[in-house]
Amino acid sequence: MHKLKLRLHYYKVLQSFNLPFSLLASSTGFIFQEHVAARIINAFSLSLLTGGFLIALYLFEDRYSGQYFFYHNLGLSKINLIVSSFLFNVGLVILLWFVKVYLYA
């Protein structure tokens, strides 16, 4: 539970970089005429797992790289944190997929 809280803390910091970028990417959904909501969700989900995620990792490394020791001192490695955050995003994307299915059912 303690390590989960630490992973969630790291995830929240990453999301502060990832979300604005992914929201911006999701706006590309508006260029389509049909199924706009589905296309917004698709673009947002794709960015959340790819470009937005990579940008967030880069910005964290650039600005807060020393903060990794905060987690290392409690036994969490960089790889562990990154994989956990990616999996949280996968969970979020699955949730969004259900929203999409519900909207177009």
């Binding site: 630490l6 803390h9 910091v13 020393g66 990794y68 020791f69 905060f70 290392h72 001192n73």
Partner: protein, 226 residues
Amino acid sequence: MPKKHTLQVDSIQYRIGERQLLTDIYLSCETGDILGLLGRNGCGKTTLLQIIFGSRHTDNKHIRVDGKVYPEPYKHQNLMAYLPQHNFLPKNLTLSKIIDLYLTSQEKREGVKQDVLVKMHLHKYAYELSKGESRYFELLLLLQLDVKFILLDEPFSGISPLYVEHIESLLLDHKKSKGFIITDHDYRSVLRISDRIILLADGYCRPINHEEELLEWGYIPAGTFS
């Protein structure tokens, strides 16, 4: 009486490009020991501490705690903590929230929150603290972890004599239950607090028995002891 633990660091080699930074390093530290590590800028002190901690990779290393080998000690809980040179606290949390996130024991949380030098800053963010306040808080937090050894990278750097004194007394208070490896350019503080001194020069560790040897090895300028 707390159980004695032994940290042995052996055969560490580290190369950056063409330069052999660390050459066959050997160090040992026990519970109750404060081992002072001195050396010029760029001699590899931080690199050595990070290799011991396990966050920096090198092919050649042998790190044992109580005779058991650990390739990356930091991944094993209750083994080792590292105070890096620069601030490592999250910028988006107040000190009070950092304490709650970091420590699981309610008793330890309260202990830190009631500390005279911390309690007035509990609602501040880490970046709002002065260097001395920040260093003191970081160290106090790490000392609460149930680890056997703590590696301190420049704990006295850029802080006022008053906070140096507070940090020294914190270390002495916890000396019975942990072993420390400490490196800093404030060599007078390191000499004052350490039980043993090692000088890292030209990639080798050299035990120092008298302060004058630091002069002989060219670590401190001539005339320092005259």
